[in-house]
């Protein structure tokens, strides 16, 4: 971790880490469904990204159903979009009590571990980051997102018990991801962004911290991603103990940078749809430059997409983004 974090904090240049695998999936001629089902294809998509884009690190697919599937949730698999949970798995205290914490043999977990292992073993030019869902977002997928929002006030004991089981599984999963040799894990916790700062801390960060305490060390960095935070729950994110925080496009990065301690790496936050997918080369360059200007001088800033890039982002837009970062570094520091 120190090496990764220090490399960022001690560099006078801004580094870029867009969260992306879909351009790799598309470039190797596979569908999303194939990539999220096969560790080999998943790895090849990451490999493509590592070879074709000059980024700080590469990331695995942000599929936030893998863990829910392991618990037994029914999953819908579209051909060209990441899967989604199709119905709730637990509905009350009894079903939560009966819910078993699954082994890492269940569902597609073994394929995701394989993808991470192959990527860590074969990609030598940059770090590889694993990914997993956050505890609250996982609990929401199992209990139903609307229902869990209400339950935290009406039946908090059920939610806390479910969160404990989700966290136990995620700790095991992250230990296994760490064993594959990756440099860290991006924990995606978007649903926690719908909560107040206090609730985000109680129902998300306290559980994320258990994962952080179990796996984060000098060789393994936790990046906590919360694209639902509009600025209201940044303190809760900081309280998780993650050494890097990743923010969505709904937040003002300059405000975040002022709020976060200087030894925490802060990542974000160009709109993955409005800028990367729907934009042109020129509009991408303009948006990138604007964000770089606003965040200039913060050594702990890494420019990134506000969430993972969706399918079918024009490659030229990604190149426009990376070229602009490079130009900014050259003009700013030479």
């Amino acid at each position: 971790m120190k090496e990764f974090i220090n490399r960022i904090l001690q560099s006078s240049k801004v580094t870029a880490l867009p969260v992306m695998t879909h351009p790799g999936i598309e470039a190797i001629g596979k569908t999303v469904r194939e990539a999220v089902s096969s560790g080999e294809i998943h790895y090849k998509a990451i490999k493509y990204i590592s070879e074709h884009f000059d980024t700080l690190a590469c990331t695995s697919i942000m599929d936030l159903t893998v863990e829910a599937e392991a618990f037994g949730a029914k999953i819908n698999f579209p051909e060209h979009e990441v899967p989604s949970v199709s119905e709730r798995l637990v509905v009350d205290l009894e079903s939560v009590e009966l819910l078993e914490v699954p082994s890492l043999e269940k569902g597609r977990i073994s394929q995701f571990l394989l993808a991470n292992k192959l990527a860590a073993e074969n990609i030598k030019n940059k770090p590889v980051f694993s990914g997993c869902i956050g505890p609250f977002s996982l609990a929401g997928r199992l209990y139903d997102m609307s229902e869990i929002m209400v339950a935290i006030y009406i039946e908090p004991d059920i939610v806390l018990q479910l969160l404990s089981k989700c966290t136990e599984f995620l700790v095991n999963y992250c230990i296994a991801l760490k064993a594959t040799g990756t440099a860290g894990v991006i924990i995606a916790e978007p649903a926690a962004g719908l909560l107040s700062d206090d609730d985000c801390k109680e129902y998300s960060s306290n559980f994320v911290k258990q994962i952080v305490d179990s796996v984060q060390d000098e060789t393994f960095t936790i990046i906590l991603h919360n694209c639902g935070n509009t600025g209201h729950c940044t303190n809760a994110m900081i309280a998780s103990g993650a050494k890097a925080l990743h923010f969505g496009n709904a937040i003002n990065m300059e405000d975040v940078l002022k709020q976060c301690p200087k030894d925490i790496v802060v990542m974000g936050n160009l709109n993955p749809v409005g800028v990367f997918k729907q934009g042109t080369r020129e509009s991408v360059r303009k948006a990138t430059r604007k964000l770089l200007d606003e965040t200039a001088g913060y050594l702990n800033f890494v420019i990134s997409s506000g969430c993972d890039l969706p399918p079918f982002v024009p490659e030229e837009n990604i190149y426009a983004f990376l070229e602009t970062v490079e130009e900014f570094n050259t003009k700013q520091y030479t």
Partner: protein, 223 residues
């Protein structure tokens, strides 16, 4: 007396007190909620129209305003919506027999291919609380289902939701089909990946960045 009941009901909805059994909010634990107070108000002679206009709509307006100002968040808003629904259950017979008039009919659904419903549900409850009849078509709604609902309710306003970048592109075919079936239909779209520019580009009449914006748009077109 009646005014006091309306104020109490409004407070229940604003702070998400659903019924007597609900432990939320803590400061109202053990007290009657929107469910019981609505029943009491009707028995005391308060008219359903007064309940709707002088308690529920006022409360949900405050809730929407607080949400847009980040003073409350999704859980609190959902609890308010549930309290409003508990009250509304007692008013259904009066809507059915026509003694209470609503502002209009709002047909709502998540576009086909998309299984997400939290945004749709939240907005649907807010629209109901703003005095509209809501016909919720659910998630993964096919074009034909939207068209059928509009043909059955030709004066209705339509709301289409999408959370995914791959499904937001399905909105235009839905809008085109509705325009062929009932050309004058007003349509609003919403969802995390959307923007006002995208809404305009697919021919939508309105775009709701958040529930409150959507309600304001509805109020504007129904005025």
């Amino acid at each position: 007396m009646n005014q006091k009941l309306l104020e109490k009901l409004s407070e229940c909805v604003e702070f998400g007190k659903i019924n007597l059994a609900s432990p939320y909010p803590p400061q109202m634990k053990g007290l009657p909620g929107a469910d019981e107070i609505t029943k009491e108000a009707l028995e005391a002679g308060v008219t359903p129209t007064e309940i709707l206009n002088d308690a529920l709509i006022i409360a949900m307006n405050k809730v929407g305003q607080k949400f847009s100002e980040n003073k409350i968040f999704v859980p609190q808003m959902l609890l308010s919506a549930k309290a409003m629904s508990a009250s509304m259950m007692h008013l259904k017979p009066f809507f059915a027999n026509g003694s209470v008039k609503r502002k209009g009919t709002f047909i709502l659904g998540t576009v086909y291919g998309d299984l997400h419903d939290i945004g749709k549900n939240l907005f649907g409850m807010m629209v109901e609380g703003a005095g509209w009849e809501v016909i919720d078509l659910g998630i993964d709604v096919k074009i034909e289902k939207f068209v059928e609902a509009v043909q059955q309710n030709p004066n209705a306003v339509v709301g289409i939701s999408a959370l995914l970048t791959t499904t937001m592109v399905h909105m235009k075919p839905v809008i085109d089909a509705i325009r062929i079936a009932v050309p004058e239909t007003k349509i609003i779209v919403g969802g995390a990946p959307l923007s006002a520019e995208f809404a305009t580009s697919i021919g939508a009449d309105g775009y709701g960045k958040n529930p409150q914006e959507g309600i304001m748009w509805l109020d504007k077109i129904s005025a």
